[in-house]
Structure formats: C-alpha cells, structure tokens
C-alpha cells in the first residue's frame, strides 16, 4: 500500500525528471507481449482450424490447402482403432499414475513440511534427490529405466509405463502440495487434539480438508505430466502404445485429421479446467 502512496510523491520530488507526456513508446511493450501471445497460440489455432478441413485427396492426411469446412473428422473421431486405443490407454495411464503419484507425493510432502533434521534425518538427501529428479534430462531417466527393465527381463507394457510415470511425477506432486501447505496453521491440529480427537480423526477432519486444494493441484499436475509424456513413454512402452507415442510414429506417414481432433478436444478440456480454477479462485478471494 505504501508503495502506491509514495510512487506519485517521488515523481514530484525529483526535479530532474520533468513531467512529460506519455509517448508512443508506451505501446511497444504491450504490443510486443500480445505478439508473443499470438505466436504461442498460433499453432494451436492452426490445429483447431485444420481439424475442420475437408480432405480431397482420399488419403487419411491433413491437407495443406483449405478445402472447406467439415465436421467429418469429429463424427469419425474413432475411425482409426489404433489411435483411439492409444488415447484411452493414455487416459487410463494418466488416471492410475496420477492416483499413485498423488498419494505418495502427498505423504512425502507431509513429511517434508512437518519434520526437520533432528527428527527427520536424511531430509536434505530426499530434497536433493527430488531436485535431481526434476532437473535431470528426461531422456536419461527414460533410457536408464529401459536399461533397468531390460536387465530385469521385465516385459514392457502398461505396468512399466505406470512405474515410470509415477517415478517422474512424485517429485512434482510433492513440490506442489508442499508449496500449498506452507501457510498451514498447525495450531488448528493442536486444538483438535486438545478437544480429544485422536490422530486419525484430526487428520480426516482438519488436516485433509485444509490441504485438499494442494492435493488437487498436485493430482492435476501429475495427470498433465503423464498424458503429455513422450520421451520416457517411448523408451518403456513396448507393446502398449500411449497417445503421444502413436502420434510420433504417425508423423512418418502423414498426420490423420483425427490427431488434430484429439488435440483440439484435449486442449478444450484443459482450458476449461484452467478457466474454472481461475474463476473459483477469484470467487474465494
């Protein structure tokens, strides 16, 4: 508040800076920023637009020329069985792996928020492992997991995908949940304990509802990481092909319009979720 009050005063005090008219240069930054936003949105707009494009060649490929508007690809969204099954595999995988990662990551976050080295030896080591997990190049993680599965003679499929996806999500969930728990008022738990609640009741009635927004944020993070993942999945997928891996394989022969349909649908759902969370957050404040 004080910054707001003092800002105009400082301009009055400084005689070296005469009040000058705001020049055209004040438009540079906003114009530039909108340009960058347009650049970020551009390929997505192209994807959505061309998911409505007619195909005249007869080949199942998106064509560069605009042949007219059609809803054909939305009606035939499941016309490519491998693509549809890859999509559902990705959805199943994202749900299961985000469940695992959320439970494990939340427990880890609880331990990290509440306990310090005298009672939690090795906390620093755990934090450094999480940092390394987040910062290491993903190709190294994927390649090393493949090495492990090959050495153990583990057949690659849904299970190896699940193991890998949980492994790269845990640290992100723990970081997200922990960040949301930073302002957590521990005296509420002590009050519950003073009123005779045991540890489990305290957790269920006080702790869990309070950290719930953080857990949801962590779960969404894990879901998004899993459904988007290509690099690790490509190493450990084997016979079970998730959506991004299938799309990558399809680029060799040409992109079927259904890929753009799925991309547009995932985009719409994601944006809806994000807008809802912004609106909810605004209503709460």
């Amino acid at each position: 508040m004080s910054a707001v009050v003092t800002a105009p005063a400082s301009q009055d005090v400084a005689p070296a800076r005469p009040p000058r008219r705001r020049r055209w240069t004040r438009f540079i930054l906003p114009a530039y920023s909108w340009l960058i936003i347009a650049y970020l949105v551009f390929p997505i707009a192209v994807m959505v637009l061309y998911s409505f494009n007619k195909v005249t060649t007869g080949l199942p490929q998106v064509s560069f020329a605009w042949n007219g508007f059609t809803l054909q690809w939305y009606q035939q969204w499941n016309n490519i069985p491998q693509l549809t099954s890859a999509f559902w595999l990705s959805i199943r995988l994202a749900i299961v792996s985000s469940l695992f990662a959320t439970v494990l990551g939340t427990l880890l976050a609880l331990a990290l928020v509440r306990y310090r080295p005298p009672r939690f030896r090795g906390k620093t080591a755990v934090e450094q492992i999480m940092f390394l997990n987040i910062a290491a190049p993903e190709i190294v993680l994927g390649a090393s997991l493949l090495g492990l599965f090959v050495t153990m003679n583990l057949a690659r499929g849904f299970v190896t995908l699940l193991l890998a996806h949980v492994a790269f999500s845990i640290a992100y969930v723990a970081v997200t949940v922990r960040a949301r728990m930073a302002g957590f008022d521990r005296t509420l738990e002590e009050a519950a304990a003073d009123l005779g609640a045991n540890a489990w009741v305290t957790f269920r009635k006080i702790t869990f509802p309070l950290i719930m927004p953080g857990i949801i944020a962590g779960a969404l993070m894990a879901f998004a990481l899993s459904i988007d993942d290509f690099v690790t999945s490509n190493f450990v997928s084997g016979s079970a092909v998730p959506f991004p891996v299938w799309v990558y394989g399809a680029t060799r022969i040409g992109i079927p319009p259904q890929v753009f349909v799925f991309g547009s649908a995932i985009f719409a759902v994601g944006i809806l979720c994000a807008l809802t969370s912004i609106v909810v957050a605004r209503k709460q404040t």
């Binding site: 301009q11 949105v41 090495g147 050495t151 949980v166 492994a167 690099v231 995932i266």
Partner: protein, 304 residues
C-alpha cells in the same frame, strides 16, 4: 537408526505410552517411505544400472549383455558422436538464448503492468502446455512444410524460390525448441521479476536513478536467480530433446538424443546408449550442481 531420534524427541505433550512415542518418532520416515522407495528403485537404481550397462558388452542381435568392465566404451562413443554432442549444445544454447531474450520483456510487462489480468496473461503463456508436446511439434512441421500454409502461399505468390525450405534445417530445430520451451523460460523470469519489491524501485528513483539505471542496476541484478532457473529448466531438457530434431530437422543435424534413442530402441546397443546417457547426465549435472550450490536446490521449487 531410530533410537537416537526417539531419545531426542522433546515429548511436547507429556509422557505417553511407548508405542505412541515410537510411532511419532517414526512418522517422518513412514510418511516418506513409499515415495522414497519408489524413487530409489525407479530413479536412483536405474542410474546405477545405466552406469553398469555402459561397462558391459552387449550382443546387438539379442540385446543380451555381459559385464566386461569395458571402460573403452566411453572414448569410443565420444569419438563417434562428439559432433552430435556439439550440435546439441549449439541448438539448445541458441534456443535458450532466444527464449531468454524473447520472454524477458513479456515477463517484465506482466509482472509490472499486468494489473488484475496477471492470471489471464500467465494462462496465455502456459497455453502451449494444453496441447501435447508431440502434437505441438507436429503442427509446426505442418505449418513449416515446403508446400505448407506459409511457405506454400509465399511460393505461389513468387515471393520465395520454389526450392526454399525451412524444414530439415537447423533453424527449424532451434525454432521448434524455442517454441516448446518458451514457457519454461518465461515463468521463472516472471516469478523473479514479480518478487521484486516495488519500493526498492521507488528508492532508486528517489535517489535520482534514470529509468535505464533503475533497470540495469536494480531490476536486472534482482532477476539473476530467475534467469539461472530459466536456463536450467530450458537448456537441460533442450539438450536431451530429440522430438524437435526428428520431426523438424529431418535426417541431418542429428542431436545426441536421437543417437541415444536409436542406440536403445533401434540398434539395441544398450552399452553404447548407456555410456552416451551417462555422459549427457554428467554434463547436465554440472549445471544442476552449480545451481544447487549458488541458489540451493530447494529454490527451483519456486520457479516450477
């Protein structure tokens, strides 16, 4: 291991039964055990396995490997693929520099002039993440194709020669990397700029700093941690990226990620692939350790 912890436990609420106190002393370990085990078995042990594989000799046909302590794998692989490592450095470095230069002004604008629309602009920065990474890259391939919506129209208008192409060049790869990792650069920069106490700026102006001086001597130094975080979150993933190179770069300009992927998935050369991955990890670790030493490993969490 747990005994001294139990002894140090202050017992704030007063004496309780031994079972409860033991449970309390074990609580941090029990809470972190499942995640810790998962990360141990599926993150740390695989790295050890990778190092061990790089010293083994593998049968390319079957993929069966035997430990032979074959240290020569490292110099062999490096002499074969040092060019690809260098290409990765150039491309990832160029993309990171472009991203830093491009995203600093917009991060600055959102932080200082975003007003009550900050969340909206941040969402716009994150918009690419709502489309799968592979699809984003594929769409750029579609856009930049030789007969695609941009080059095709320009060629039809005779503004470009017919043999002009962007795909299958290093420029396309760098552009793809820059697009895909831009949010990873912009967000840490935004967090760092947003965190600057505006009263410090007022103080600078009170002390007769010009706008330029306030920028170069107050804002820039205070955003250095964000720049470093942005560098780590952009350069390290871009270094190992192979999707952009394979989709946009064609068969030339091979980056090290492609070599590693081919070693593991096409040639079944697990030893060679592991050695190259180990080298890539070692290079990344230089940056990771430098970051952890200078800023502390936990600070990265603020920029995610």
């Amino acid at each position: 291991m747990e005994q001294p912890v139990l002894a140090n436990h202050p017992g704030r609420i007063g004496p309780r039964r031994g079972r409860v106190r033991l449970g309390k002393a074990l609580a941090p370990y029990l809470l972190s055990l499942p995640a810790g085990l998962w990360l141990l078995v599926l993150f740390l042990i695989p790295l050890v396995v990778m190092l061990s594989l790089s010293l083994q000799t593998c049968n390319f046909g079957t993929g069966a490997c035997v430990m032979t302590w074959h240290w020569a794998e490292f110099p062999q692989q490096l002499s074969l693929y040092h060019a690809q490592f260098l290409t990765s450095f150039y491309f990832a470095g160029a993309a990171t520099l472009i991203d830093l230069a491009v995203s600093f002004p917009i991060a600055y604008w959102i932080a200082f002039h975003g007003g009550n629309k900050k969340n909206f602009f941040l969402l716009m920065l994150l918009v690419p993440f709502f489309v799968s990474f592979v699809i984003r890259t594929v769409v750029w391939e579609f856009i930049l194709s030789d007969q695609g919506i941009i080059l095709g129209s320009l060629k039809n208008a005779h503004l470009l020669p017919q043999n002009f192409h962007v795909l299958a060049t290093g420029y396309a790869v760098v552009a793809g990397l820059a697009y895909n990792y831009l949010p990873f650069t912009a967000l840490p920069l935004y967090v760092a700029i947003e965190r600057i106490d505006k009263r410090i700026l007022d103080a600078a102006y009170d002390l007769y700093a010009t706008k330029r001086e306030a920028f170069t001597r107050v804002i820039l130094p205070l955003t250095i941690p964000g720049v470093f975080a942005a560098f780590l979150l952009t350069f390290v993933p871009a270094l190992g990226d192979y999707v952009n190179q394979q989709v946009l770069g064609g068969t030339s300009n091979t980056m090290i990620g492609t070599v590693i992927q081919n070693a593991f998935l096409v040639n079944l050369d697990y030893a060679g692939g592991s050695a190259l991955s180990a080298v890539l990890l070692a290079i990344a670790l230089v940056g990771i350790f430098a970051y952890a030493r200078l800023l502390g490993s936990r600070t990265i969490e603020e920029y995610l």
